[in-house]
Structure formats: structure tokens, C-alpha cells
Amino acid sequence: MTAAFSDKVDIELTVNGEPVEGRVPAGQHLVDFLRQTLGLTGAHASCEHGVCGACTLRVDGQAVRGCLMLAAQADGAEVWTVEGLTEQGSSRDLQQAFVARNALQCGFCTPGMIVAAEDLLARGGVPSRAEIREHLSGNYCRCTGYEAIVDAVEDVAQARAGKGTA
């Protein structure tokens, strides 16, 4: 069997700052590789076609749907999940704001929501509530009604801007 027709692919990537090697089925999605092979269950599979945002990851600095990217495509990539962001401490204020504002109920959307919100916050400044809503409009939350999430992101944007860290 030639490489082109192989159903397994060897990959090397960085996940949450650690080097990872794997031999993955060609059709395996990145979120399934992270969840099933690496045990990183923070990102969740839900709609499985890129609509709900529950599997949102950071890949090479971009917010990416883990259900729309194959693990094989992540060869050489730098991947961050909510577990890594937590250990790194870079989202501590946002996570604390989510807890303080109860911007989560069942929590299934939350890891994806955190990654997506960080994508907006990384642009700096203080986005308007409408801009926050627009940016998060690819992340489905059935529990909260979104207002608390918008509040939490807005609070953190203001705090980061105030500290001059944004």
C-alpha cells in the first residue's frame, strides 16, 4: 500500500505546549484525537459539522472547529485546548468572570466559548456588546440565554484594557 492510500497517518504536533506523536486514522477528527487518544476531554463534540462551537480549539493561534479539522491536518501544528489555557493561566480572569457571573450552566459549551472569547479579546480594546454577541454567534449555548456570557466577556475586556494588558 502506498502512503497515498494508507488509512493511518503519522503526525507530530504540539498540544498544550507538549510534543505529541500519533498514528491516527486518516478520517479521524482533531477533536476525537484529543479526546480519545490524549484524554483531553475539555473540548466537546456536539453538532459534528462546525455549527455549534463546542469543540472550538486554538490551532496555530486561530480559533478552529475541532470537528472540521482532521487530526492528520494538525501535523506540525501548535494546538491549545481549555486544559492548556488553564494550566498556562492565560485565561484565569475570563474563567473567574464566567464563574462570578454564572456565565455557564451545564458547562458543555464553556470550553469552546472560552477559546472563542479569547480569540476576540486577543484583538485588544473593549468590544461593544453587539460585537461580543456577533463574535460568539458561532457558539451555541442552550442554557444561559447568552447575556451572562456577554457580561463576563465585557467585564474581562474592560479589565484587561484598564490594566493595559490588552
Partner: protein, 793 residues
Amino acid sequence: MSIAFGNPDRPNSYIGKTVPRPNAEKLVQGRGRYVDDITLPRMVHVAFVRSQLAHARITGIDTEAAKAVKGVLRVFTGPDLAEVCTPWVGVLAHLKGLKSPPQHALAVDRACWVGEPVVAVVATTRAAAEEAATLVEVDYDPLPVVTDTMTALDPDTPLIHPDLGDNLAFQRLHEEGDVDAALADAHRVVSARFRTARHTGVTLEPRSILVDWNPAEGQMTAWHATQAPHMMQTVLATHLDIPESRVRVICGDVGGSYGIKVHVYPDEVATAAIARVMARPVKFIADRLESFTSDIHARDHEIEARIAVAEDGKILAIDVDDWTGIGPYSVYPRTSAIEGNQVVNLCGGPYDFANYRAQTTVVFQNKAPTCQYRAVGHPIAVAITEGLVDMAAAAIGMDPVEIRRRNMYADDAYPVTSPAKMRFEGLSHHASMNKLMEMIDYDALRADQAEARKQGKHRGIGIASFIELTNPSPFMYGIGGARISAQDGCTVRMDPDGSVVALSGVTEQGQGTEAMLSQVVAEGVGVTPDKVRVITGDTQVTPYGGGTWASRGAGIGGEAALQAARALRESILAVAASMLQADAGKLDIRAGQVVDADSGEERMPLEELGRIVYFRGDTLPKDLPRELVQTRHFITMDYPFAFTNGVQASYLEVDTDTGVVTLLKHWCVEDCGRVINPQLVDEQIRGGIVQGLGGALYEEIHYDEDGQLLNGSMADYLVPMAGEMPDMQIGHVETPTGESELGAKGAGEAGTAGAPAAVMNAINDALRPMGAQVTEMPFTPERILRALGKIDD
């Protein structure tokens, strides 16, 4: 000693305050443990072959190609599983006449809806199971398909279940007073046809179950995303012929429920049956298409309704003819007749009127089964009632707020029994309306509407008063023969370090149950909430209880926790009194310290009391009781249900060129009795409102006439996303129930109950000058343009 709720400065005053949720931190860190996060040794995966036809006889199943797929271990058909799993029938004795045929874990000889599980394929990976499932060849002989609700009982409509004699599952007529006479004599009678679309819950976490059977121990363990672990324990034990004591259901983190995860699903029971056969862990996680075709649907109602009013706006009569199609089976064990029954019970709910007639007709169809979904029947009943009231107001030229004020039960009228024979212990319609008017500044909003109208912007204000059924007694299910507990229990214990553990039969679905329990127990015992560890969702560990449904967690589970906590406090103080040579009545526990009740002087930390009781019990008097564990159960007895009330307002703008509705703001005043945690209650209401807004504007399951589901993905079934949702202001009036010391009623469904009606009334308020009106949900741009006469093809 009762709690002085009126004094916010009382010691240990955690009830009524926003305290952090103990389980939120793990969820924001991605450290939740949902069913799909669990991997067990020797675990296998099941995928289901589902019927692609809405009604067909199964004439043959060829599994050879599937079995040849690498990783496939077993393939099960309906007859295979019928040998180890008995069928069930979704009826309740108190819903007279309700009928439904036996339903199997896998279809045995006939499939009755698109998505019904027919064959189960078990493999070492989910991918292999799915691949093999596509290779199973099922031969079908198509049967006539019934999809339309309104013609389901026509003589020439084929019968879905010939053995039942007709397509009628349930019918109930309730009559009070003389409706026909009231209609005949009324100043005005207004009629309307309403329609609420077929919805589904779209839980972000799909239905999930992982079941292990250990034949050496004779023990089944199911990790299940469920709202009712004890109910599921009974169901699995009953139908798999295992002693109930040998079935353990564990419900860890659940990724959204909203009623979807309180039912018995054939594929989930099949998973347990397969585990029983294979004696190893079997996992089933529904994919999104499976969720759309096999999660319960709801709210598929068509209604003709009339209201009769006097010249002064007094409601003389309400007449409702409600029809709903429930799919081919009444869902077990709660049944699919409850929703229609609720419509009959709830229409006209806020209003003091004499003549009421309501009939619900519940028919079978070849579509996915419907059953209880958040706010069961309420959004339908509130839309009918509040739609009619607004139309009546317009017909007699009265302000919509004024007509409500003239008809709502007076706040001092209670207790009172409604024309639907619902008993209300204490409601606050007028106080709630007054509060809403302050919050929205009604006159200013009307002025803004008028100003916008001058600029060609069509804005509308919609008001919807409502009642909500919470804290159910056994009148909901138990009297009908279902083993669904209306009672709930809590065990509270103090450990040697002075910390407290609370084990409760209610469950956490994200609504904040564990935070609520932690603060109730903290106040009841006299420790800080962070000293309380809450354990829920394990039938082998917690007291028996009902779980999460019908907004019962705080009202029932919270009261059980309070009583258990108070009992533990008494036990601790009895020991403390002995140790301190003091009068127990003059001691108190505050922030984990035994104190002198009058002076507040600290006498002994609880960890010292714990050290003595657990390690130096020899120093205590021999006859001194030192049980630092207490269990209490609570059940409501005086009223079948604790009704709450509230009122919502929607302000929105309708683009009459595109038909697009923009939600500007939404308000809700809710009276759920004692508010235990203001933030959690407000967020329950906000989330509920948005779920209702989805029904009002977006959500609709479409089937074609062959019973094919047309929009089974999240790209095609629209749900509310952040971009379209408004900010929401929430207010409260508190009328505690006298049935419990805690006084809490439910709050989880109020938002969903009232939001669709508020939006409908706001849209119609905006459209009224153009002579247009919409009553068919969701209010899509197309439906609005049709109402405006801008589309007529």
C-alpha cells in the same frame, strides 16, 4: 427554631444570597466529566441502524457485511433484544382512556418513524460501529404513513396501530360553567387559530449512556446523562429482569437536559440490554442526526380558540380546542398525553372568570415521539390565553395592560380554585404587573413606539401574564401508577473536620442544584457554604428521589435538605451542650463554631466537636446520642402543585419589508416564592426566556408528507444564537409557599412559558395598524410577510 428569613443580617444568612456554584470552576477549566468523557476497560461502542421510512414492515435483515467489518463484535436485531428486554407501554391510569402499544428497545417487526432504532451494531470503536451500521441491509415493506394531526382521526386515514382501533391516543374535555350561553350573550367574541411548531431540545451534549454489567456481582452500573436516576434504575431493573437493588445509575455532569433527558429511550435501554448480554461496558452517544430524529419532540399543537368579553373587558368565557400529534408511541413512563392535558389545565390561568371549556385531542402519527420538554404545555397555553386577551383588548379598544388588570385574580383572593380546577395557594399577578410596569416604564415605551412609528419603524410591545406549575406532588405521575418519586430526600452528615456532606436525590443539570443545596445546608447547620460538599446523581449513594423535572429541585429537594440540616444542627448542639455543660437552646452554630446564641461568643469549633465524637467518644456520657448524620424527606401534601406566576414583556421591531423581527429588550417579573440564590434564579429565567424566544422566532421541525424529517441538523434547525438575543431584565415578587419552611417554588420553566406569547403579542402590536396578525409559530419572515399580504403564492 425557624429561620428569620425577613432579617438579612441573621447569622448564617446564605438563603437568599448569591453564593458561587461549587461545580462551576471545574466546568470552566474543562474538567467536567460527562458520560462521553468516561472510558472503561473493555468498553465497546454501539451504533444504531435506524428506520429510513416513517412506517414500514421489516421483512428481512442482512447483517453479514456489517459483521465482516474489522472491529465489529456483535449485531443485534429487535427479536434478539426482545429475548432479554421486555417491552413497555407509556400509559398512566389517571389519564383516562390513554392508550399506546407496546414499544421495544429495537423495532421487532415494524418501524413507525424515521429514526426508530432497528438494528444495533457493537464494535471496539464508534467509527467501526458506524461504518458497519451503514452496511446492514434492512428490507422494508412500506406501510401507509400518517403525518397530519388534524386528519388523523378521519375515517379514511390509515390506522398506525390497527390493534388499538383508531389513531386516538387520548382525549380530555373539561367544562366549567356555561360556555355556550356566555359566548351567545357576550359583548364581543374573538376567535383565533394558533399553531405551535414541533420543537426539540437540542441539548448540546447529546443523549449519552454507558452501561456495564458485572455478572460476577450481578450488578448493572449505568453512567447516564439523565434527570431522573432513580426512575431509570427502576426502568432498567424492570425491563431487564434485574433486582432493582442491583442496578446503579450514576448521573455525573450532564450537558443540558430541559426535559429531553427525563424519558426512556429505546436506544438507551438497548444499550443496557446489550451490556447485559455481552457482560462488558457498552457506550452509546447519540450523534446530532440521531438527536434530531430520536430525542423527544414537543409542542406540535394546532388550536382553535375563542374568548368572550363584556364591554368592560371582563372575560366571560374561554373555549379551547387543542390538537396535538405525538408520534407513534406515547413515551414511557411519563406519557405523551401530559402536554395536551397541561394545555387544558393552564389556559386562562391568571384570570378570574367563570365559563371555561377546553378539549385536547392527542393523536398518533408517524413522526418522532413527543413528550415533556421544558415548560410542558405552558408556552402553548400562555400563547392561546394571552393572544386571545390581546385580541379582545384590541376589539374593544382597551389597553392590553388594563384588560389584564381587570381580569387577573386579586392578590388577596387566595386560596382560589380556577375554572380549570387548578388550586392556587398564593399568587401575585397584580404586584407582578405593577413591578413590570415600573421596570419597562410603560408610558415611555409607548411614547418611543409612537415616535418610531412616525419614522416608519414598526415597533411593538407584548405583555404575557402566566402561571407555572412547580413542586409537583404524586398527582403528576404517581397516582397514575408510575414509579416516579414526587418525594425527595437529603442526608446531611458532619465529618470529623467539621465539614458537612449533603447527599441529595435531586440532580444537577447545570441549573445550580448543588449551589442551592450547599447554601440551604450551610444555613441550616450553621457553616459556610464552602464547608458543604454536595453529592447528587448516584442511586447507590443518595436518598431516593425524583431528580430534576417540573421545577422541583429547590422546592422539594431544597426543603428536604433544610430539614435534614436543621436536624443535624440539633444533633450537634445536643453533643455540644453536653460537652460545654450548657443548655442546647442557648447555643447556636455560626460559621462552623458553636457559639453562645445571645452573645455570639465562640464556645467551640465544630472540628473539636468532631474530634471528640469520632475519636474520643469515650469521654462523652454513655447515653448521649451522637448521630451526626440525619436524613429527611419532603413531599408536598396540601396542594397537588405549587403554582407560581409572573409576567413578561417584549419590545421588538418588525421590518415590514423583510419580515425580520429584531428583539430590542425583554423583561420578566417572576414570583417563585422564596428566592434562594438570586443570581441562579435570574439565570434560569434568562435561559428559559431564550428557549422560549427560539420557539417564537426560529425553531420548527419539518416533516414532509412521507414522514421524512427535513431539517435534522443544527444548520437547518435554527436555535437562538448570541447575535440575535436581547438583554433581559428580571424582577421578583416573593410569595413563599406555606407548604414548606423554605417557601421556595420552582423557577426553571417560567421564562420558557411566557416568552413566546410576549413576542407574539409584540409582533401583533407592531403589525396591528397594518391590519395584520400572526398566530402560527415560529414567526418567520415568510409568515410575517404573508400576514402583511406581501407574499401570496
